[in-house]
Protein backbone atom coordinates (compact mmCIF):
# COMPACT_ATOMS: atom_id res chain seq x y z
CA UNK A 1 0.00 0.00 0.00
CA UNK A 2 1.24 3.49 -0.85
CA UNK A 3 2.11 5.73 2.08
CA UNK A 4 1.31 9.42 1.49
CA UNK A 5 4.75 10.55 2.68
CA UNK A 6 6.72 8.10 0.53
CA UNK A 7 4.39 8.85 -2.38
CA UNK A 8 5.06 12.58 -1.94
CA UNK A 9 8.83 12.07 -1.74
CA UNK A 10 8.75 9.76 -4.76
CA UNK A 11 6.72 12.24 -6.79
CA UNK A 12 9.00 15.14 -5.88
CA UNK A 13 12.06 13.05 -6.73
CA UNK A 14 10.57 12.13 -10.11
CA UNK A 15 9.71 15.79 -10.77
CA UNK A 16 13.28 16.80 -9.96
CA UNK A 17 14.73 14.10 -12.21
CA UNK A 18 12.38 15.15 -15.01
CA UNK A 19 13.32 18.83 -14.59
CA UNK A 20 17.05 18.04 -14.62
CA UNK A 21 16.59 15.95 -17.75
CA UNK A 22 14.63 18.69 -19.49
CA UNK A 23 17.22 21.30 -18.45
CA UNK A 24 20.00 19.09 -19.84
CA UNK A 25 18.14 18.81 -23.16
CA UNK A 26 17.69 22.57 -23.21
CA UNK A 27 21.43 23.04 -22.64
CA UNK A 28 22.21 20.61 -25.44
CA UNK A 29 19.99 22.68 -27.72
CA UNK A 30 21.66 25.93 -26.58
CA UNK A 31 25.13 24.57 -27.42
CA UNK A 32 23.87 23.18 -30.73
CA UNK A 33 22.41 26.51 -31.85
CA UNK A 34 25.28 28.54 -30.43
CA UNK A 35 27.67 26.88 -32.88
CA UNK A 36 25.27 26.31 -35.76
CA UNK A 37 23.24 29.47 -36.20
CA UNK A 38 23.75 32.99 -37.44
CA UNK A 39 24.51 35.46 -34.63
CA UNK A 40 21.37 37.37 -33.60
CA UNK A 41 23.22 40.66 -33.02
CA UNK A 42 20.20 42.88 -32.48
CA UNK A 43 18.54 40.59 -29.93
CA UNK A 44 21.86 40.04 -28.12
CA UNK A 45 22.51 43.78 -27.78
CA UNK A 46 18.94 44.30 -26.58
CA UNK A 47 19.40 41.63 -23.92
CA UNK A 48 22.80 43.00 -22.92
CA UNK A 49 21.11 46.34 -22.26
CA UNK A 50 18.30 44.71 -20.24
CA UNK A 51 20.63 42.50 -18.23
CA UNK A 52 23.62 44.77 -17.90
CA UNK A 53 22.94 48.45 -18.46
CA UNK A 54 19.52 48.44 -16.77
CA UNK A 55 21.05 46.74 -13.71
CA UNK A 56 23.81 49.34 -13.31
CA UNK A 57 22.01 51.58 -10.81
CA UNK A 58 20.92 48.83 -8.47
CA UNK A 59 24.33 47.11 -8.64
CA UNK A 60 26.05 50.44 -8.02
CA UNK A 61 23.94 51.24 -4.95
CA UNK A 62 24.31 47.74 -3.51
CA UNK A 63 28.09 47.53 -3.92
CA UNK A 64 28.77 51.12 -2.90
CA UNK A 65 26.89 50.83 0.38
CA UNK A 66 28.26 47.34 1.05
CA UNK A 67 31.80 48.70 0.70
CA UNK A 68 30.89 51.60 2.99
CA UNK A 69 29.42 49.44 5.72
CA UNK A 70 32.32 46.98 5.49
CA UNK A 71 34.76 49.79 6.02
CA UNK A 72 32.76 51.26 8.90
CA UNK A 73 32.30 47.97 10.76
CA UNK A 74 35.83 46.68 10.28
CA UNK A 75 37.31 50.08 11.13
CA UNK A 76 35.24 50.33 14.30
CA UNK A 77 36.15 46.78 15.38
CA UNK A 78 39.79 47.44 14.65
CA UNK A 79 39.63 50.68 16.66
CA UNK A 80 38.12 48.83 19.62
CA UNK A 81 40.86 46.18 19.50
CA UNK A 82 43.96 48.13 18.49
CA UNK A 83 42.91 51.74 19.08
CA UNK A 84 43.32 52.49 15.37
CA UNK A 85 41.76 51.26 12.14
CA UNK A 86 44.21 48.78 10.64
CA UNK A 87 44.22 47.13 7.21
CA UNK A 88 40.81 48.55 6.30
CA UNK A 89 41.72 48.74 2.61
CA UNK A 90 42.92 45.14 2.59
CA UNK A 91 39.78 43.89 4.29
CA UNK A 92 37.35 45.85 2.13
CA UNK A 93 39.08 45.00 -1.15
CA UNK A 94 39.61 41.36 -0.21
CA UNK A 95 35.92 40.93 0.73
CA UNK A 96 34.65 42.82 -2.30
CA UNK A 97 36.87 41.16 -4.90
CA UNK A 98 36.62 37.57 -3.67
CA UNK A 99 33.07 37.32 -2.33
CA UNK A 100 30.77 40.29 -1.99
CA UNK A 101 31.35 41.79 -5.44
CA UNK A 102 30.51 38.65 -7.44
CA UNK A 103 27.90 37.20 -5.06
CA UNK A 104 25.94 40.39 -4.45
CA UNK A 105 26.03 41.37 -8.12
CA UNK A 106 24.77 37.96 -9.17
CA UNK A 107 22.02 37.97 -6.56
CA UNK A 108 20.89 41.44 -7.64
CA UNK A 109 20.99 40.47 -11.34
CA UNK A 110 19.17 37.19 -10.66
CA UNK A 111 16.42 39.15 -8.91
CA UNK A 112 16.14 41.83 -11.56
CA UNK A 113 17.25 40.60 -14.97
CA UNK A 114 16.59 36.89 -14.24
CA UNK A 115 12.99 37.77 -13.38
CA UNK A 116 12.66 39.82 -16.58
CA UNK A 117 13.95 36.94 -18.71
CA UNK A 118 11.66 34.35 -17.11
CA UNK A 119 8.61 36.63 -17.27
CA UNK A 120 9.26 37.52 -20.92
CA UNK A 121 9.84 33.96 -22.12
CA UNK A 122 7.02 32.68 -19.89
CA UNK A 123 4.57 35.20 -21.36
CA UNK A 124 5.68 34.23 -24.86
CA UNK A 125 5.08 30.58 -23.95
CA UNK A 126 1.53 31.03 -22.63
CA UNK A 127 0.51 33.33 -25.50
CA UNK A 128 1.79 30.87 -28.16
CA UNK A 129 4.56 33.25 -29.32
CA UNK A 130 7.09 30.44 -28.86
CA UNK A 131 5.00 28.24 -31.18
CA UNK A 132 4.78 31.15 -33.62
CA UNK A 133 8.59 31.29 -33.76
CA UNK A 134 8.68 27.66 -34.92
CA UNK A 135 6.11 28.31 -37.62
CA UNK A 136 8.03 31.37 -38.84
CA UNK A 137 11.22 29.44 -39.48
CA UNK A 138 13.05 30.20 -36.26
CA UNK A 139 14.03 27.95 -33.42
CA UNK A 140 13.23 29.62 -30.05
CA UNK A 141 16.56 28.42 -28.63
CA UNK A 142 18.39 30.20 -31.42
CA UNK A 143 16.31 33.38 -31.30
CA UNK A 144 15.61 33.70 -27.57
CA UNK A 145 17.98 31.59 -25.49
CA UNK A 146 21.37 31.95 -27.19
CA UNK A 147 21.29 35.81 -27.11
CA UNK A 148 20.31 35.75 -23.43
CA UNK A 149 23.08 33.30 -22.53
CA UNK A 150 25.64 35.47 -24.36
CA UNK A 151 24.32 38.63 -22.68
CA UNK A 152 24.47 37.08 -19.19
CA UNK A 153 27.98 35.68 -19.78
CA UNK A 154 29.32 39.05 -20.95
CA UNK A 155 27.44 41.47 -18.74
CA UNK A 156 27.67 39.74 -15.36
CA UNK A 157 31.49 39.71 -15.21
CA UNK A 158 31.54 43.36 -16.35
CA UNK A 159 28.99 44.31 -13.70
CA UNK A 160 31.07 42.49 -11.10
CA UNK A 161 34.20 44.49 -11.98
CA UNK A 162 32.09 47.66 -11.75
CA UNK A 163 30.73 46.53 -8.35
CA UNK A 164 34.24 45.69 -7.09
CA UNK A 165 35.52 49.18 -7.87
CA UNK A 166 32.49 50.97 -6.46
CA UNK A 167 32.59 48.88 -3.28
CA UNK A 168 36.26 49.71 -2.74
CA UNK A 169 35.56 53.35 -3.50
CA UNK A 170 32.73 53.40 -0.95
CA UNK A 171 34.99 51.77 1.61
CA UNK A 172 37.75 54.28 0.90
CA UNK A 173 35.30 57.18 1.29
CA UNK A 174 34.12 56.00 4.72
CA UNK A 175 37.75 55.35 5.70
CA UNK A 176 38.63 58.96 4.87
CA UNK A 177 35.57 60.67 6.32
CA UNK A 178 34.67 58.54 9.35
CA UNK A 179 37.87 56.72 10.31
CA UNK A 180 40.51 59.28 9.38
CA UNK A 181 42.34 56.80 7.16
CA UNK A 182 43.96 58.68 4.24
CA UNK A 183 43.18 57.32 0.81
CA UNK A 184 46.90 56.69 0.20
CA UNK A 185 47.05 54.39 3.25
CA UNK A 186 43.82 52.70 2.21
CA UNK A 187 45.12 52.07 -1.32
CA UNK A 188 48.55 51.07 -0.08
CA UNK A 189 46.94 48.36 2.08
CA UNK A 190 45.33 47.02 -1.10
CA UNK A 191 48.47 47.11 -3.27
CA UNK A 192 50.63 45.55 -0.57
CA UNK A 193 48.52 42.60 0.43
CA UNK A 194 46.33 41.75 -2.56
CA UNK A 195 47.33 39.93 -5.71
CA UNK A 196 45.77 39.62 -9.14
CA UNK A 197 44.64 36.11 -8.17
CA UNK A 198 42.33 37.61 -5.54
CA UNK A 199 40.59 39.53 -8.28
CA UNK A 200 40.58 36.53 -10.64
CA UNK A 201 39.01 34.34 -7.95
CA UNK A 202 35.88 36.48 -7.82
CA UNK A 203 35.89 37.32 -11.51
CA UNK A 204 35.99 33.67 -12.65
CA UNK A 205 33.15 32.74 -10.32
CA UNK A 206 30.79 35.13 -12.10
CA UNK A 207 31.00 33.10 -15.32
CA UNK A 208 29.66 30.06 -13.47
CA UNK A 209 26.95 32.15 -11.79
CA UNK A 210 26.01 33.80 -15.10
CA UNK A 211 25.63 30.45 -16.82
CA UNK A 212 23.52 29.13 -13.95
CA UNK A 213 21.24 32.21 -13.81
CA UNK A 214 20.72 32.08 -17.59
CA UNK A 215 19.89 28.38 -17.41
CA UNK A 216 17.42 28.72 -14.53
CA UNK A 217 15.71 31.82 -15.96
CA UNK A 218 15.34 30.40 -19.47
CA UNK A 219 14.28 26.95 -18.26
CA UNK A 220 11.60 28.33 -15.95
CA UNK A 221 10.34 30.64 -18.70
CA UNK A 222 10.13 27.88 -21.29
CA UNK A 223 8.26 25.61 -18.89
CA UNK A 224 5.65 28.15 -17.83
CA UNK A 225 2.10 26.87 -17.73
CA UNK A 226 -1.24 28.39 -16.84
CA UNK A 227 -1.56 31.98 -18.04
CA UNK A 228 -0.70 35.08 -16.02
CA UNK A 229 -0.71 33.17 -12.73
CA UNK A 230 1.76 30.68 -14.18
CA UNK A 231 4.07 33.48 -15.33
CA UNK A 232 4.12 34.94 -11.80
CA UNK A 233 4.81 31.53 -10.28
CA UNK A 234 7.59 30.71 -12.76
CA UNK A 235 9.23 34.11 -12.17
CA UNK A 236 9.24 33.68 -8.39
CA UNK A 237 10.62 30.14 -8.69
CA UNK A 238 13.35 31.30 -11.06
CA UNK A 239 14.48 34.11 -8.75
CA UNK A 240 14.44 31.97 -5.60
CA UNK A 241 16.24 29.05 -7.29
CA UNK A 242 18.89 31.32 -8.81
CA UNK A 243 19.57 33.10 -5.52
CA UNK A 244 19.88 29.86 -3.55
CA UNK A 245 22.08 28.31 -6.23
CA UNK A 246 24.38 31.37 -6.24
CA UNK A 247 25.04 30.78 -2.52
CA UNK A 248 25.44 27.01 -2.88
CA UNK A 249 27.64 27.21 -5.99
CA UNK A 250 29.72 29.96 -4.38
CA UNK A 251 31.10 27.51 -1.83
CA UNK A 252 31.83 24.73 -4.30
CA UNK A 253 33.36 26.97 -6.98
CA UNK A 254 35.45 28.75 -4.33
CA UNK A 255 36.67 25.37 -3.05
CA UNK A 256 37.70 24.35 -6.56
CA UNK A 257 39.47 27.67 -7.23
CA UNK A 258 41.30 27.51 -3.89
CA UNK A 259 42.34 23.94 -4.68
CA UNK A 260 43.86 25.03 -8.01
CA UNK A 261 45.58 27.98 -6.36
CA UNK A 262 43.42 30.88 -7.52
Amino acid sequence: MKHPVTEYIGREFMNLAEALGAAALMLKSVFFWFFRSKFEARETVKQAVTIGVDSLTVVALTSFFTGMVLSLQSGQSSKNLFNEPLYIGTLVAFSMLKELGPVLTCIVVAGRAGAVVTAEIGTMKVTEQIDALYTLGTNPTRYLLVPRYIAFMIMLPLLTVFADFLGIFGGCLVGMVKLDVPSTVFMNDIYTYLEIYDFMHGFLKTFVFAFMIATVSCYKGLNTKGGAEGVGKATTEAVVTSMVLVMVLDYFVSAVLVAVGI
Binding site: F32, M124, E128, Q129, D131, Y134, T135, G137, T138
Partner: protein, 246 residues
Protein backbone atom coordinates in the same frame (compact mmCIF):
# COMPACT_ATOMS: atom_id res chain seq x y z
CA UNK B 1 -0.71 16.75 -49.76
CA UNK B 2 -0.97 15.95 -46.04
CA UNK B 3 -1.61 12.32 -45.13
CA UNK B 4 -2.50 11.59 -41.52
CA UNK B 5 -2.44 7.96 -40.51
CA UNK B 6 -3.49 6.51 -37.15
CA UNK B 7 -2.62 9.70 -35.30
CA UNK B 8 -2.91 9.56 -31.51
CA UNK B 9 -2.09 12.20 -28.93
CA UNK B 10 -2.57 12.14 -25.17
CA UNK B 11 -1.72 14.47 -22.31
CA UNK B 12 -0.90 12.18 -19.41
CA UNK B 13 -3.81 9.79 -19.00
CA UNK B 14 -6.16 11.91 -21.13
CA UNK B 15 -6.41 10.79 -24.74
CA UNK B 16 -7.11 13.78 -26.99
CA UNK B 17 -6.72 12.29 -30.47
CA UNK B 18 -7.42 8.60 -30.88
CA UNK B 19 -6.21 6.84 -34.02
CA UNK B 20 -7.21 9.54 -36.50
CA UNK B 21 -6.67 9.00 -40.24
CA UNK B 22 -7.43 11.54 -42.93
CA UNK B 23 -5.91 12.81 -46.19
CA UNK B 24 -5.92 16.52 -46.97
CA UNK B 25 -5.57 16.97 -50.71
CA UNK B 26 -3.85 19.75 -52.67
CA UNK B 27 -6.02 22.87 -52.91
CA UNK B 28 -8.56 21.55 -50.43
CA UNK B 29 -10.09 23.60 -47.63
CA UNK B 30 -10.57 21.14 -44.82
CA UNK B 31 -12.43 22.32 -41.73
CA UNK B 32 -12.45 20.63 -38.36
CA UNK B 33 -15.36 21.54 -36.16
CA UNK B 34 -16.46 20.47 -32.72
CA UNK B 35 -17.16 21.77 -29.25
CA UNK B 36 -14.39 23.50 -27.27
CA UNK B 37 -11.88 21.25 -25.54
CA UNK B 38 -12.27 18.35 -27.98
CA UNK B 39 -8.73 18.57 -29.35
CA UNK B 40 -9.16 20.71 -32.47
CA UNK B 41 -6.17 22.90 -31.63
CA UNK B 42 -4.18 19.82 -30.64
CA UNK B 43 -4.90 18.32 -34.05
CA UNK B 44 -3.74 21.40 -35.94
CA UNK B 45 -0.62 21.74 -33.75
CA UNK B 46 0.32 18.13 -34.49
CA UNK B 47 0.24 18.93 -38.23
CA UNK B 48 3.31 21.19 -37.87
CA UNK B 49 4.76 19.18 -35.01
CA UNK B 50 4.30 21.89 -32.43
CA UNK B 51 3.06 18.89 -30.48
CA UNK B 52 4.62 15.46 -30.83
CA UNK B 53 2.05 12.71 -31.33
CA UNK B 54 2.25 9.47 -29.33
CA UNK B 55 1.82 7.36 -32.44
CA UNK B 56 0.84 7.50 -36.10
CA UNK B 57 2.29 9.39 -39.02
CA UNK B 58 1.88 12.84 -40.56
CA UNK B 59 3.21 12.79 -44.10
CA UNK B 60 3.67 16.22 -45.67
CA UNK B 61 4.69 16.06 -49.34
CA UNK B 62 6.09 12.58 -48.82
CA UNK B 63 7.99 13.31 -45.61
CA UNK B 64 6.86 11.87 -42.29
CA UNK B 65 7.27 14.47 -39.55
CA UNK B 66 5.42 12.69 -36.75
CA UNK B 67 8.41 11.11 -35.08
CA UNK B 68 11.47 12.78 -36.60
CA UNK B 69 13.95 14.43 -34.24
CA UNK B 70 15.86 16.10 -37.04
CA UNK B 71 15.47 19.84 -36.37
CA UNK B 72 16.48 20.80 -39.90
CA UNK B 73 14.07 18.36 -41.57
CA UNK B 74 11.27 19.69 -39.38
CA UNK B 75 12.20 23.29 -40.14
CA UNK B 76 12.16 22.51 -43.87
CA UNK B 77 8.64 21.09 -43.67
CA UNK B 78 7.43 23.93 -41.43
CA UNK B 79 8.58 26.39 -44.10
CA UNK B 80 5.66 25.34 -46.28
CA UNK B 81 3.12 26.17 -43.56
CA UNK B 82 1.49 29.40 -42.49
CA UNK B 83 -0.23 29.33 -39.10
CA UNK B 84 -2.87 31.71 -37.77
CA UNK B 85 -2.94 31.36 -33.99
CA UNK B 86 -6.11 31.61 -31.94
CA UNK B 87 -4.97 34.73 -30.03
CA UNK B 88 -2.75 36.06 -32.83
CA UNK B 89 0.55 35.29 -31.04
CA UNK B 90 2.15 38.53 -32.22
CA UNK B 91 5.58 39.28 -30.78
CA UNK B 92 5.00 41.93 -28.12
CA UNK B 93 8.45 43.45 -28.38
CA UNK B 94 8.28 44.03 -32.13
CA UNK B 95 6.29 46.54 -34.19
CA UNK B 96 3.61 45.49 -36.66
CA UNK B 97 6.12 45.97 -39.50
CA UNK B 98 8.69 43.74 -37.77
CA UNK B 99 6.05 41.15 -36.93
CA UNK B 100 4.79 40.83 -40.50
CA UNK B 101 8.33 40.89 -41.91
CA UNK B 102 9.51 38.22 -39.44
CA UNK B 103 8.66 35.29 -41.70
CA UNK B 104 10.12 37.09 -44.72
CA UNK B 105 13.45 37.35 -42.89
CA UNK B 106 13.64 33.72 -41.79
CA UNK B 107 11.70 31.91 -44.50
CA UNK B 108 12.55 33.71 -47.72
CA UNK B 109 15.53 35.18 -49.56
CA UNK B 110 13.78 38.48 -50.16
CA UNK B 111 16.03 41.49 -49.53
CA UNK B 112 15.12 43.54 -46.48
CA UNK B 113 14.66 46.68 -48.54
CA UNK B 114 11.56 44.98 -49.98
CA UNK B 115 9.98 44.30 -46.56
CA UNK B 116 8.11 47.61 -46.12
CA UNK B 117 6.44 47.27 -49.52
CA UNK B 118 5.41 43.63 -48.98
CA UNK B 119 4.23 44.32 -45.43
CA UNK B 120 2.10 47.24 -46.63
CA UNK B 121 0.63 45.02 -49.34
CA UNK B 122 -0.23 42.18 -46.94
CA UNK B 123 -1.69 44.57 -44.39
CA UNK B 124 -3.88 46.08 -47.11
CA UNK B 125 -5.09 42.58 -47.95
CA UNK B 126 -6.44 42.22 -44.40
CA UNK B 127 -7.90 45.72 -44.44
CA UNK B 128 -5.27 47.56 -42.41
CA UNK B 129 -3.20 50.61 -43.22
CA UNK B 130 -0.82 52.97 -41.39
CA UNK B 131 -0.33 50.57 -38.49
CA UNK B 132 3.22 49.48 -39.36
CA UNK B 133 4.87 51.38 -36.52
CA UNK B 134 2.42 50.41 -33.79
CA UNK B 135 3.19 47.78 -31.15
CA UNK B 136 0.74 44.86 -30.67
CA UNK B 137 -0.33 46.32 -27.29
CA UNK B 138 -1.72 49.34 -29.17
CA UNK B 139 -4.01 47.19 -31.37
CA UNK B 140 -7.53 45.92 -30.75
CA UNK B 141 -8.21 42.14 -30.64
CA UNK B 142 -9.54 42.17 -34.21
CA UNK B 143 -6.58 44.18 -35.50
CA UNK B 144 -4.14 41.79 -33.81
CA UNK B 145 -5.77 38.86 -35.53
CA UNK B 146 -5.61 40.58 -38.91
CA UNK B 147 -1.94 41.48 -38.42
CA UNK B 148 -1.30 37.88 -37.45
CA UNK B 149 -3.03 36.74 -40.62
CA UNK B 150 -0.90 39.15 -42.67
CA UNK B 151 2.21 37.72 -40.96
CA UNK B 152 1.18 34.14 -41.80
CA UNK B 153 0.50 34.81 -45.46
CA UNK B 154 3.50 37.12 -46.08
CA UNK B 155 5.97 34.31 -46.92
CA UNK B 156 3.32 32.82 -49.28
CA UNK B 157 3.04 29.36 -47.74
CA UNK B 158 1.83 26.27 -49.54
CA UNK B 159 -0.40 25.25 -46.62
CA UNK B 160 -2.36 27.50 -44.27
CA UNK B 161 -3.56 26.44 -40.85
CA UNK B 162 -6.20 28.58 -39.17
CA UNK B 163 -6.93 28.12 -35.47
CA UNK B 164 -10.32 29.71 -34.75
CA UNK B 165 -9.82 32.43 -37.39
CA UNK B 166 -12.96 34.44 -36.61
CA UNK B 167 -13.17 34.16 -32.83
CA UNK B 168 -13.28 37.60 -31.22
CA UNK B 169 -13.89 39.45 -34.48
CA UNK B 170 -16.76 41.78 -35.32
CA UNK B 171 -19.15 40.75 -38.14
CA UNK B 172 -17.47 43.01 -40.74
CA UNK B 173 -13.99 41.67 -40.00
CA UNK B 174 -15.36 38.11 -39.84
CA UNK B 175 -16.73 38.58 -43.38
CA UNK B 176 -13.35 39.96 -44.52
CA UNK B 177 -11.40 37.06 -43.00
CA UNK B 178 -13.86 34.57 -44.50
CA UNK B 179 -13.40 36.11 -47.92
CA UNK B 180 -9.63 36.09 -47.51
CA UNK B 181 -9.54 32.41 -46.56
CA UNK B 182 -11.68 31.59 -49.59
CA UNK B 183 -9.51 33.75 -51.88
CA UNK B 184 -6.33 32.12 -50.63
CA UNK B 185 -7.71 28.80 -51.66
CA UNK B 186 -9.41 29.75 -54.91
CA UNK B 187 -6.90 32.23 -56.32
CA UNK B 188 -3.62 30.97 -54.88
CA UNK B 189 -4.59 27.29 -54.59
CA UNK B 190 -3.34 27.24 -50.99
CA UNK B 191 -4.34 24.08 -49.16
CA UNK B 192 -6.00 25.11 -45.92
CA UNK B 193 -7.02 23.51 -42.66
CA UNK B 194 -9.45 25.52 -40.54
CA UNK B 195 -10.22 24.65 -36.96
CA UNK B 196 -13.34 26.33 -35.67
CA UNK B 197 -16.43 25.89 -33.53
CA UNK B 198 -18.31 28.12 -35.99
CA UNK B 199 -20.20 25.50 -38.01
CA UNK B 200 -21.83 28.13 -40.23
CA UNK B 201 -18.43 29.43 -41.30
CA UNK B 202 -17.11 25.92 -41.89
CA UNK B 203 -20.06 24.96 -44.08
CA UNK B 204 -19.77 28.16 -46.13
CA UNK B 205 -16.07 28.08 -46.93
CA UNK B 206 -14.94 24.45 -46.82
CA UNK B 207 -14.62 21.79 -49.44
CA UNK B 208 -14.83 19.20 -46.65
CA UNK B 209 -15.96 19.41 -43.04
CA UNK B 210 -15.02 16.96 -40.30
CA UNK B 211 -16.42 16.81 -36.80
CA UNK B 212 -14.02 15.94 -33.99
CA UNK B 213 -15.57 14.35 -30.93
CA UNK B 214 -13.96 12.25 -28.19
CA UNK B 215 -10.70 12.02 -30.10
CA UNK B 216 -12.19 10.80 -33.39
CA UNK B 217 -13.68 12.23 -36.56
CA UNK B 218 -17.31 11.15 -36.24
CA UNK B 219 -18.13 12.60 -39.65
CA UNK B 220 -16.10 13.93 -42.57
CA UNK B 221 -17.92 15.02 -45.72
CA UNK B 222 -18.51 17.82 -48.22
CA UNK B 223 -20.71 20.59 -46.72
CA UNK B 224 -23.88 19.47 -48.55
CA UNK B 225 -23.48 15.86 -47.35
CA UNK B 226 -22.44 17.02 -43.90
CA UNK B 227 -25.75 18.85 -43.51
CA UNK B 228 -27.57 15.61 -44.29
CA UNK B 229 -25.53 13.49 -41.90
CA UNK B 230 -27.47 11.03 -39.80
CA UNK B 231 -24.82 11.10 -37.07
CA UNK B 232 -26.46 12.03 -33.77
CA UNK B 233 -23.61 14.31 -32.61
CA UNK B 234 -23.59 16.15 -35.94
CA UNK B 235 -27.36 16.63 -35.83
CA UNK B 236 -27.14 18.00 -32.30
CA UNK B 237 -24.29 20.35 -33.23
CA UNK B 238 -26.29 21.59 -36.23
CA UNK B 239 -29.26 22.24 -33.97
CA UNK B 240 -27.18 24.06 -31.34
CA UNK B 241 -25.61 26.16 -34.10
CA UNK B 242 -29.10 27.07 -35.34
CA UNK B 243 -28.60 25.52 -38.76
CA UNK B 244 -31.13 23.52 -40.72
CA UNK B 245 -30.34 20.40 -42.76
CA UNK B 246 -31.34 22.17 -45.99
Amino acid sequence: MIEIKNLSKAFGEKVILNDISVDIKEGELFSVIGPSGMGKSTFIKCLVRLLRPESGSIIVDGQDIASTSNEFALARVRRSFGYLFQEGALFDSLTVLENVAFGLKYLTDIHKSEYPRIVKEKLALVGLKDVEHLKPSELSVGMKKRVSLARSIAPEPKYMLYDEPTTGLDPVTTGMVKELITDMREKLRITSVVVTHDLKLALEISSRVAMLLDGKFVEAAAPAEFRQSENKAVKEFMEISGLSRE
